[in-house]
């Protein structure tokens, strides 16, 4: 038997939001690894900011040592827990898709800034000119990748990767603003269906704090 004393202690600090940190939360859950889900309020943050090397959240602490940046954290945990493809080439593809997803966030961000009232603008116009083209551009690619991988409900290889989880969450968040946006991408939706059908993930989604993003 493996002693739990041999396992590192994990603490994931983030605001009370899902975002890209949610990928790491689900990696802990999928692997059955205990972790502290440390949610920091906006009020607490100014006093805490100094503590964190890059001055931003999320940060993962592994036995007290900090790793910042949400995707660096996700990659680290994916590697530890086995959600990073079967070989180096598959891992690189998973990373490439995650970077592509970050490009997608950049492209669609101006729509969300308006839709969430952070910036003045016409939401319908932003939907037509920013959101829908960004979704088409990037999800045409993601749909193709899922199909080229054999439509096996994974984007890369034959097992769950951190990118499967990432896209599952993206679809959930964006669908709440723009229902039906992903109807044109059935192979992507099949990946999401497979992730969310895992009992531990299903249970987590039902009980996790409900946040807009």
């Amino acid at each position: 038997p493996v002693s739990t004393l041999a396992m590192p202690s994990y603490k994931l600090s983030e605001f009370d939001t899902r975002g890209l940190a949610e990928v790491s939360r689900q990696l802990f859950i999928l692997s059955g690894t205990p972790y502290e889900d440390n949610r920091i309020s906006k009020d607490q943050w100014p006093a805490l900011k100094e503590k964190y090397g890059f001055g931003e959240l999320p940060v993962l602490e592994v036995d007290g040592k900090q790793i910042p940046q949400s995707l660096a954290i996700a990659r680290y945990l994916a590697k530890e827990f086995g959600f990073y493809g079967a070989n180096a080439f598959e891992a690189a593809w998973i990373d490439a898709l995650a970077d592509q997803a970050k490009d997608f966030i950049s492209d669609i961000h101006p729509y969300f800034a308006i839709a969430m009232g952070m910036v003045a603008g016409d939401t319908d116009k932003a939907k037509a000119e920013i959101a829908l083209p960004a979704i088409k551009k990037h999800f045409d690619l993601f749909e193709k990748v899922a199909k080229d991988n054999g439509s096996n409900s994974h984007f890369v290889g034959s097992n769950f990767s951190y990118f499967d989880i990432l896209i599952s969450e993206f679809v959930f968040s964006i669908d709440s603003f723009l229902p039906g946006s992903f109807d044109a991408f059935p192979t992507v939706l099949a990946v999401r269906a497979k992730v969310t059908s895992i009992p531990a993930i299903k249970e987590w989604i039902e009980k996790r704090p409900k946040t807009v993003t």
Binding site: Q69, A72, Y76, A88, A96
Partner: protein, 223 residues
């Protein structure tokens, strides 16, 4: 026989073909990793209209992409990380690799912050661009610089100011940061003065003999 040929094929190095613009940008780190590890590669550089002509047929619609025995891999940092793992430029532990990754992601955030400044920066000597350049430098460039190089300075000091951002070996983030410093030195001399630790990193990384050799012999482009 057949099994011997299969063994030989398995032991043969992969054939690498790297396609990017004729420039350094986010592609240069891959080229440096090939050269530093004495790995032959085909260095395809697209000029003029060549990219626009093939963009729609390209694997993911952007540059760079890498072919490894004909298998395609896209996204500059996924490529850099893959090559760095093959050739030993990711630090010595999973924790170190994660810190290299985190700095890479922070660099990308910095790049996004700087984007509104880059175009006026490249065009600063064109008719009428000087004022826009100065404005964007003050409003965009300097805050983005202070934030990013502030983080780098803190990490470099924490790591012992030993010529590396992470651990005690050259990693792909050292190459990315130092190459970019060279670009900024070219376009905005003095922009990075005052970041003494970064100048120390730059000096020590550029003193790497193999890197110095590449810098001398590579095609010369301002960025």
């Amino acid at each position: 026989g057949v099994s011997q040929a299969t063994e030989e094929k398995k032991n043969m190095s992969p054939v690498y073909k790297f396609t990017y613009f004729h420039g350094r940008g986010i592609g240069e780190v891959a080229r440096q990793l090939f050269f530093l590890s004495d790995t032959p590669f085909e260095d395809v550089r697209l000029v003029g209209e060549e990219w626009m002509k093939i963009k729609d047929q390209s694997p993911w619609g952007h540059l760079p992409w890498l072919e490894i025995d004909g298998k395609v891999l896209c996204q500059s940092f996924a490529i850099a990380r893959y090559l760095a793992i093959q050739f030993g430029f990711v630090g010595k532990t999973p924790f170190e690799s994660a810190m290299v990754d985190a700095l890479g992601d922070q660099y990308k955030d910095y790049w996004n912050d700087m984007k509104p400044f880059f175009m006026p920066m490249y065009r600063q000597n064109m008719e009428g661009m000087k004022e826009e350049f100065e404005k964007k430098k003050k409003d965009v460039g300097e805050p983005a610089r202070d934030k990013f190089y502030g983080i780098l300075t803190k990490e470099y000091k924490k790591n012992g100011s030993n010529g590396h951002m992470v651990g005690d070996s050259l990693t792909w983030i050292d190459l990315v940061v130092v190459d970019h410093m060279g670009v900024m030195d070219h376009y905005v001399p003095g922009f990075l003065d005052g970041f003494e630790e970064m100048r120390d990193l730059q000096k020590k990384v550029n003193a790497n003999p193999k890197l110095a050799e590449w810098i001398k012999k590579r095609p010369h482009t301002p960025q």
